[in-house]
Symmetry: C2
Subunit: 391 residues, 2 copies
């Protein structure tokens, strides 16, 4: 994005405090007033300490600040780790004169190590001075939450008089250090938490829950939406549409930036008997290592798609009805079981697979349901990065 | 294996007929008499044509021959493909003077292309002369069924007066419920089909269904057991024990030879509340790309194990009870959440992870259930092989 609108009534910071190296590793969001808030967290049954504290603090639907560190996830760290996450909230609260329960903590990075609290306490000594309301402050925050990301993920959009800004990190549904997908959304629209929460859940279900890099589910995934109300009421349908557009954009940015990935895959499965069949099939295909390596190699491998569709054991598929489209619009090319593979324009399909965005549609039959998911190819780069990441 | 015992009353062949290149691509098994037989096939809902024909032919519990080609899987090939599979059976039947319903066909290789039947008909012209009873004939058969395998997989064992010989192939698309995993087991023990079938199912459940290379389930997985009865009755418990030992051996050989793999992983999950929890957790860990790449890199990454255990959403795990052992016997080294990661002998654990066989045990708690699975590491070689495999 060239230009990012800031949201009135919010401040940000992002800086280096030396948790591991010299890159930005500590960031925060502070609203001028308590915000109506909504949040969605990881389904991993061993959630990180910050997720556990975040769940407590969001209960009343109110938040005023977010504090994030990268390089260490504070996961599987026991009661000491829980205390560290609470202490991070208190540091912000004391510095900024708000209640600790209004702070949501996040940590992302290596799992199983205690946070270096002496470094964090020192880094948080002058927080009230670190926060600022400029675009530069916002961009620093977006940079400070990155781990193996190769680029910043941020978007802003106007909804009536209100502004919605979203920031995300994640090089996949999971990263080498299992670090996590995090996203922070801020608006000055006035929307109560009770409305925001189901709206955010719907948006997440159609965006962040539709991407996959490697099937590994982080212990720390967190999406938070803060609404400070300064711009007054907005059209809720327009806001939800903007929210969905933004979360899909950020989700695609994460899939595109998947570990070692060279291309983004957008896969629609249609003609399904149920929504579940559409989603299970889409996930099975976009997660299949053999499909992902075929797309990396620009190989229009009909057989691997058939295999990945057929391993959804709960639904029977008639291969005679199966159609796979490669590309989109006028360029779309078709493969089905009735075609003679020796007469299919495999070279043209291969050309479509060489692009940085690969569009696929699988038609299962004549059912009414469809689902769209996003993923990335599987490359030597993914293996290299993850085999040699140091604990 | 240095020496392989042959089974009396069986003949084999393996040869090149030029389906794709000059390597062995056509093989068969022929018994002197109709055999009591049992078979287990893929759960993929789009099974190959040979699997569909095989299911019909095994129904009466009798088989006398097996015919296999590699280089082409005859999957997703419509009614023409079904007819090709039946024709392969007729070619053997006519050549060898038996009923076509006594022949089980298998094909493995590329999916979605019709078999080159003119090549196969020509190759099958003198089948009665190709079959022979020597170890060399058996080894040629074991070689002819390989695709991306780097080595032959074969074992023989004595049970009383009887001999049991097993042959297998498989190196990718391996999550057998499935490049396909094929295994042919032959014995001269006299055991009725009604006893063999549940015995084979139990053995497969503890062996081939406990391995995974890449979570992709082939459309062609087949395990067949033929008993010609020449050696008379045997102790059934001893036979089942031998069968289990053999299927576990062959399953491990497949996992060890996983595409691009540099090491075999044996993972036991114990202390589970249910057998399902033990198996789901073991599969989740052994299939996790981040665990597999960590083991490739000999990285004792506690965090990745915790993540993979926690993504089994159906069961709650208390991380305080979790223990991971690396290695086996006296060398075993332990990691748990209570340990200070800075004092753990990570270098010693890393040394254990550098071996060609990696032993792991995860203790989930104090439950009574355990399961063992086998897998392999994920390497640049897997990606390279599958990205550049030509359709």
């Amino acid at each position: 994005m060239e230009h990012i609108d800031i949201v009135p009534g919010f401040s940000w910071f992002g800086k280096n405090i030396g948790i591991k190296d010299k890159t930005l590793d500590f960031g925060g969001i502070l609203a001028d007033v308590p915000c109506q808030a909504a949040a969605v967290f990881t389904k991993n049954t061993i959630p990180g300490a910050p997720v556990q504290v975040g769940r407590e603090h969001i209960k009343d639907g109110l938040l005023q600040a977010v504090i994030v560190n990268s390089k260490n996830a504070n996961v599987a760290t026991g009661t000491g780790g829980l205390e560290d996450a609470r202490r991070m909230c208190r540091l912000v609260a004391e510095s900024c004169g708000i209640a600790p329960e209004l702070v949501l903590p996040s940590s992302t990075g290596v799992i199983g190590r205690r946070l270096p609290m002496e470094v964090i306490v020192k880094g948080a000594a002058s927080l009230q001075d670190d926060f600022g309301k400029t675009e530069r402050h916002l961009l620093n925050f977006a940079d400070a939450i990155m781990t193996t990301d190769t680029r910043r993920k941020i978007m802003s959009v106007k909804v009536g008089n209100a502004t919605l800004v979203g920031v995300a990190k994640g090089a996949g549904m999971i990263e080498p250090n299992m670090a996590t997908m995090l996203s922070y959304l801020m608006t000055d629209a006035a929307i109560p938490s009770a409305v925001l929460q189901p709206m955010l859940q719907r948006a997440v279900n159609k965006s962040f829950n539709r991407i996959s890099v490697d099937t590994d589910t982080s212990t720390s995934d967190t999406v938070v939406l803060l609404a400070n109300g300064l711009a007054g009421a907005v059209d809720l349908e327009a806001f939800e549409a903007a929210l969905q557009e933004m979360t899909v954009y950020l989700a695609k940015e994460i899939a595109r930036d998947g570990e070692g990935a060279t291309k983004l895959i957008e896969l629609k499965v249609s003609g399904a008997k149920t929504a579940e069949q559409a989603l299970l099939t889409a996930k099975s295909v976009v997660n299949s290592p053999l499909v992902k390596t075929a797309i990396y190699g620009a190989d229009p491998n009909w057989g691997r798609f058939v295999m990945a569709i057929g391993k959804v054991f709960a639904y029977q598929v008639d291969v005679a009805e199966l159609v796979i489209y490669f590309g989109q619009g006028a360029e779309r090319l078709k493969l089905d079981a009735a075609m003679d593979m020796n007469e299919v324009p495999l070279d043209d399909i291969s050309e479509l697979l060489k692009r940085s965005e690969v569009f696929l549609e699988i038609v299962l039959g004549s059912g009414p349901y469809s689902e769209t998911v996003w993923g990335c190819d599987l490359t030597e780069g993914y293996v290299h990065e993850n085999a040699h990441y140091t604990t």
